[in-house]
């Protein structure tokens, strides 16, 4: 079966700085992939390129075999219009490190705005869906709260519900627990684990090595804008082949 996500030789350069230096990756439907690596290794940039929050400098991304963010015209590639790009992004959920909830909307408003304004759902249908998603992340009792009244962990769970309400094919998590107080990390990881068990396709950039080990089908270690090592969690995390991977994991344990 064709992979759900296929990344082909992706490069990204910010002025002089080469952040991605040729990344190729395939993710199967239902697969959980964790990306680990030191800061500056390009993990977040890779994730942001997948839904075109960053435009890759070179290389291509396919979801379900369909080219993302650009189209082929004659023999070249051109970037999509805002409208075409927006359509493609509907299928890719993105969970941000800093939640990015909409502060002027309640929890329910945050979860229902895109289904209403993007998918064109009626208010009742959107709210039914929104309620279901907030219940799923354990926040049925916070439906009418504004983000500023929620803890970081609750905000991040609303953000996950907001993504789920769009029923994406693929979910991207960008260090979803890095901005949280230690005691709030667990509640977010629990929700992510539940999604993993339900068969969502997930690409997770994380520093939570233990979580990555438990949830992932595959762990990828990135360094210097490249994938340098990948494999099943027990191989990469417990028995890494490269000195760089070993050093990184050792540093994390010493924290």
């Amino acid at each position: 079966m064709a992979p759900l996500l296929q990344i082909v030789d992706l490069h990204k350069r910010f002025l002089e700085l080469e952040v991605l230096t040729g990344v190729s990756l395939e993710v199967a439907r239902g697969e959980k992939v964790s990306i680990i690596g030191p800061s500056g290794s390009g993990k977040t940039t890779l994730l942001r390129c997948i839904n075109y929050l960053e435009k890759p400098t070179a290389g291509h991304i396919y979801i379900d075999g369909k080219l993302i963010g650009e189209k082929q015209v004659n023999s070249g590639y051109v970037h999509l219009s805002d409208r075409e790009l927006a359509k493609e992004r509907q299928e890719i959920g993105f969970v941000f490190q800093r939640f990015n909830l909409f502060p002027h909307l309640t929890a329910l408003g945050n979860v229902t705005i895109a289904p209403q304004k993007v998918l064109g759902l009626g208010r009742e249908e959107a709210e039914a869906r929104g309620r279901a998603m907030l219940t799923k992340v354990g926040l049925a009792h916070k439906i009418d709260e504004y983000p500023e009244r929620l803890s970081g962990g609750q905000q991040q769970r609303v953000a996950i519900a907001r993504v789920l309400a769009m029923q994406p094919k693929l979910m991207l998590f960008d260090e979803a627990t890095s901005a949280l107080d230690p005691e709030l990390i667990g509640e977010v990881l629990r929700v992510m684990r539940q999604l993993a068990e339900e068969g969502s396709t997930m690409v997770i950039v994380t520093h939570e090595i233990q979580f990555a080990g438990e949830v992932s089908d595959r762990v990828i270690f990135m360094d210097g804008g490249k994938i340098v090592e990948q494999g099943p969690p027990r191989d990469v995390l417990l028995n890494p082949q490269l000195p760089r991977t070993r050093d990184f994991l050792k540093h994390l344990q010493e924290r």
């Binding site: 359509k87 992004r89 509907q90 941000f96 990015n100 002027h104 895109a114 993007v118 953000a159 907001r162």
Partner: protein, 221 residues
Amino acid sequence: MRFFEVLGQKGEYFLITLLGGWPTTVKVAAGALVFALIFGLVIALLRLSRWRAFRIPAIAYIEFFRGTPLLVQLFVIYFGLPDAGFEPTPLQAAIVGMGLNGSAYLAEIYRAGIEAIHRGQMEAALSLGMTPARAMRYIILPQAMRTMLPPITSFSIVMLKDTAVVSVIAAPEIMFYARNLVTETLQSAVIYCMAGALYLCMTVPMARLVARLERSRRAWQ
């Protein structure tokens, strides 16, 4: 004192005459404000566009209208447009002139308000499948409006009292009647003080409103 003698004898006549200009002052201020609120937003969005072809004209517009005197702009519209085949009435010229001028200032207020919204808000909206235009409408502008409301109200006070300038193109507002009265009676001190008081009666309540908006602007609920 002579000032109070004159005020006592002629005050009522002056007040009634000046109030004759009040409707025009309000019309010019309100018309120009509505014009500037809408057109200023257009200019601000062009100013913030990704495309240079939109940005540059918007910058030129803002610099031109902020960098030349309102008086000159009014003269160009009122005395210049007839050469191009339009003959605006003083009221029309006043509303358009002050509206175009106000748009430049409001565009900068809008821009500051929009730019103050964290980039993550736009990214979150885009990642949910909104186009940039939808994200602006449903996510960015509603948030920006809250922070912009006090400066916009402050600016509308400036606009209201600046309507005095349009007396020079014979729009029959408060200042126009004041000048006529001075020509007629030569009581400039009393008449201009009364005109000033009339403006205060409108601007002070608005200033109170700004203060209230500023106190309440932090709460989302």
